[in-house]
Amino acid sequence: MDSAQQLCTFFLEGNLFGVPVPQVQEVIRFQQMTHVPLAPNVIQGMINLRGQIVIAIDLRCRLSLPDRTEAPMNVVVRTVEGAVSLLVDEIGDVIEVDPSTFEEPPETVSQGVRGMILGVHKLDGKLLHVLDTEKACQVPPAAEAAAAR
């Protein structure tokens, strides 16, 4: 991160998160979802994104945050495996950040979540978590399916 970077931000349980703008395909309102029985918990369902079937991952669940009560927003990100929709609480602004404010996550962050957070930008009055979208979209294989076999 040599130069200033634009992050698309969103909120999860009051925390500010961001993903680099080039990785974001689009942001859409809550969509009717098709649930996938037997799928891992983090997979909330599938949405029809103009003919493309996209898996929706509940970021709250992924980041071990408590379940949400209100309808989420979809942040559709591009990954090597194709588009994936991340369910977030609320959409924030696009923020330009300077590399100088960046710092890696402290050791005290729990191990599972640490892998998904590249680091934080120290902004005025708040911390902006930078999400590793590839990692966040890697869902451990369906546990039930594996166990049942």
Partner: protein
């Protein structure tokens, strides 16, 4: 990579495939002039192109082959098996070099000196008697192996031979007017030559051509095109383009086809898929709308979309001949290898299949063909003894039937040896001897599709390792196909494969379960059954079954299979409760040879769905094969029938043994040994165990079936009267069970021709455990001893003794009257 090289590779690949075929064909008709000419032309084209592109090693190999061919064509040599093999080896070498070019961009280090030597010997081989040609031969293939592509020399040689002169109308043609060319065939007009054409197209001036020709006359052995390029007088592209034009002219056929990339076709197909979905949505919308104008438009749109879908689908269709084309070669090589004579017959080569399916059946088909030759067809001596013609016949047939493509691979060989398969299966522990004796022949034959099964006495490099047939079946099932086998000892084997035409857009049944919609591919659907009440559903030890025309159909509740997470999203998890009051919808499906019913909440409609792959995150769940977008724009999952069956069998593992004999025997995994025990309750607390081995069936009946024959409790069971024995009377429990149940659970026990029902208070479970630590604490009649399983002290029963004590005389055949004998015989 260079566009030109790419084109060259594609074209040469096709040419080589044709070569394979033509060479094998040539073997059956060695004097066929058109065939020889065509083969010669193909090789020559390859040789010519690599000359231009600088693949000298490749050129050398091709040239050596060409030399042999030219002598064959001129009738100086007659085709032998060795020369065909040599030429095929040359084709293989060229193919290898081409793939090397594909990966590295160069034709590799291997110059194939042995092959060149072999071809040279073949070329020279039979010429000893024809002294007139010897000198020319030496010039064509100099001893040092230097094989420059000089056509001047070749043409000189052909002019001196008695046979027909050079008749190839192929491209990189010789200079315009060298003195040796008086007898150039008339059908090759002047512009047909490379130089002439280049001048005609204005790509070089006639002066430049003259320069090049002058070079050649001065002894430059390269061809005109090469010289032109080397001198910088002409662009390589132009030469190649001109060469293509000449080739096209040579073929003397108009080409109204266009080469289109497969990627583009796939993309088109996807777009049409989208269009179909959009059309579905439009239709749904217009149906809920009163506007007549919209109706008209949407109907028209519907027709156009359907037609477009059909046409685009056609572009992906390829004749199965494309795959079969390589079989003549495979068959020839294999037959030679095994010392057998095999005649290959093909019928229905133009049967068309979707490209992806064609790809998928390629390997299974190859395997089956290899199998037929290696295992099926006998060596000529054996065949003669059997009174069959020495050469075996392998017939491939393809035809459309009922929206599916049927492919048959039939040989007239030895057929499968039933006894050998049976004994092998027993030896491998796949089935027990008992099962084997009960299995119908057809199912025994189908055992060869199980993993690790091979009856070949010795492993050959062709087959016999036992990994083949199961792979064949799995691969075919992956694309929704089925494979079936018919065989007659001594007469041959026929393998019949049924595969769907296409995978991209399939008809499916849409059902509802847990508030979501699911699509079930219609391929595996056999029928739908609607039960008005749940009464029709019975239980075999907890496993729901339905009597479908007398056969027990195991049932799977879709909601239970998918139920693991149902409550998390607050979906209707009480769907099974609903069914209790409203009846049930059973979707009868066929997976492998197993029919089973899936109970769903609602059956909605059939719809053409576009199969879309699932994201990587969902790949691990075998119950789904993909997803699709429904008419209203929502997403629905497509159920994978095989996965569903697997999962259901898994859940209902313990019930396998209670299915009817035929089915049970078809499932090789069933546990059938001493260590499997059936646990039942005797009284309200007592536990007893019965070796599952001696249990014929488990049944549950309403108490009303109980009848009396004298004082003996009996019931009618499968057309006979069986005595019933109450376990609690024979082995009194400490606390009697409540007897207000209106059903009885019966363990059916058979000994010889006699069947007895043992009524237990409750069937608990089936465990796999060795009841070895039995202790005889209190000796009781009918109890072998006690042991602990599932934290309960359990009595191991001696069922034989119990029923003998309970119904004395039943098993003593002398006492049985004649009528009884009749009903007892199953």
């Amino acid at each position: 990579m260079d566009e030109i090289v790419k084109d060259f590779l594609i074209e040469s690949g096709e040419n080589l495939d044709r070569l394979d075929q033509e060479l094998v064909q040539l073997e059956t008709d060695p004097r066929s002039a058109p065939l020889l000419a065509s083969i010669f032309r193909t090789i020559h084209t390859i040789k010519g192109s690599c000359g231009f592109l600088g693949f000298t090693r490749l050129e050398k190999v091709a040239h050596a082959g060409e030399s042999l061919l030219s002598r064959l064509r001129d009738g100086e040599l007659s085709l032998t098996e060795e020369s065909t093999s040599g030429l095929l080896a040359m084709v293989d070498a060229v193919r290898r070099m081409l793939s090397e070019i594909q990966t590295t961009g160069a034709d590799g280090e291997n110059g194939y000196p042995e092959l060149l030597e072999r071809l040279k010997q073949l070329t020279a081989g039979q010429t000893a008697g024809k002294s007139q040609n010897e000198s020319e031969e030496v010039r064509i293939l100099p001893a040092d192996g230097e094989v420059g592509g000089s056509e001047v020399q070749e043409l000189q040689s052909s002019t001196t031979t008695a046979a027909a002169p050079d008749s190839q109308p192929e491209p990189p043609q010789v200079p315009q007017e060298p003195p040796t060319h008086e007898n150039v065939p008339q059908h090759r007009p002047a512009p047909g030559k490379l130089g002439g054409l280049l001048v005609e197209r204005g790509q070089i001036s006639s002066e430049n051509l003259a320069v090049a020709l002058g070079e050649q006359e001065r002894g430059d052995q390269r061809r005109v095109g090469e010289i032109l390029v080397a001198l910088g007088l002409c662009k390589l592209e132009d030469v190649l383009a001109a060469q293509h034009i000449i080739e096209a002219r040579g073929r003397e056929q108009g080409t109204d086809t266009v080469r289109v990339g497969v990627n583009l076709l796939d993309k088109l197909m996807n777009l049409v898929g989208e269009l179909v979905l959009a059309r579905n949505q439009l239709l749904q919308f217009s149906n809920s709308n009163q506007d007549p104008g919209l109706h008209t438009i949407s109907q028209r749109m519907n027709l156009i979309a359907s037609e477009l879908q059909e046409e685009v689908m056609k572009t992906r269709m390829q004749p199965i001949g494309n795959v079969w084309n390589k079989f003549p070669r495979t068959v020839r090589d294999l037959a030679l290898n095994c010392g057998k004579e095999v005649r290959l017959e093909m019928e229905g080569q133009d049967t068309e299949l979707d490209r992806t399916i064609l790809e998928a059946v390629k390997d299974p088909l190859t395997h089956l063909v290899r199998n037929s030759i290696d295992h099926g067809i006998e060596i000529p001596a054996t065949r003669a003894r059997m009174g069959k013609p020495a050469s075996g016949c392998l017939a491939l047939r393809a035809f459309h039937e009922g929206g599916q493509v049927n492919i048959e691979i039939a040989d007239d060989g030895a057929g499968l040896n039933l006894e050998r398969i049976r004994s092998k299966a027993i030896e491998r522990g796949i089935i027990s001897a008992d099962q084997a004796s009960r299995m119908p022949d057809r199912e025994i034959f189908n055992l060869i599709f199980l993993p690790g099964f091979s009856t070949a006495e010795k492993v050959t490099n062709v087959s016999g390792r036992g990994v083949g047939m199961d792979v064949v079946r799995t691969n075919l099932e992956k694309i929704g196909g089925t494979v079936d086998l018919h065989t007659a000892a001594g007469k041959g084997t026929t393998v019949r494969i049924k595969i769907p035409l296409t995978l991209a857009i399939i008809p499916a049944l849409v059902v509802r379960c847990l508030g979501e919609r699911f699509a079930i591919p219609q391929m595996s659907l056999t029928e739908l059954v609607r039960l008005e009440s749940m009464k029709g559903i019975e239980n075999v030890h907890g496993a729901p079954v339905y009597r479908l025309r007398g056969q027990l159909l195991p049932l799977v509740y879709l909601s239970h299979v998918l139920g693991a997470k149902a409550t998390k999203h607050g979906m209707a998890s009480d769907s099974s409760a609903n069914q209790n009051s409203q009846g049930a919808n059973i979707v009868v499906l066929q997976a492998e040879s197993q029919a089973f019913g899936v109970v769903v909440d609602d059956i909605l409609d059939t719809e053409e769905i576009v199969v879309k792959p699932l994201g990587k995150q969902l790949k691990g769940i075998d119950v789904y094969s993909g997803a699709t977008i429904m008419g209203d724009g929502s997403v629905a999952l497509i159920l994978d029938i095989m996965g569903l069956a697997k999962r259901a069998n898994l859940l209902a593992q313990t019930h396998e043994t209670t299915r009817d004999d035929k089915r049970a025997a078809a499932l090789p995994s069933i546990t059938d040994d001493e260590n499997t025990l059936l646990l039942a309750e005797n009284g309200s607390t007592g536990r007893v165990a019965i070796p599952l081995r001696i249990v014929a069936r488990l049944e549950e009946f309403p108490s009303s079936v109980l009848e009396y024959a004298g004082t003996q409790e009996v019931m009618q069971y499968r057309g006979q009267i069986i005595p019933l024995v109450r376990l609690s009377q024979m082995v009194p429990p400490s606390m009697p069970a409540d007897n207000d149940k209106n059903t009885i659970e019966v363990v059916v026990y058979s000994e010889g021709k006699r069947t007895v029902g043992l009524i237990v208070d409750r069937i608990v479970d089936i465990v796999e455990e060795k009841a070895q630590q039995t202790e005889t604490l209190t000796p009781r009649a009918g109890v072998v001893g006690s042991f602990v399983t599932q934290q309960h002290v359990t009595d191991l029963l001696d069922v034989s003794k119990i029923v003998h004590d309970a119904v004395p005389g039943l098993f003593e055949t002398d006492n049985i009257d004649a009528t009884n004998q009749d009903v007892a015989t199953v």
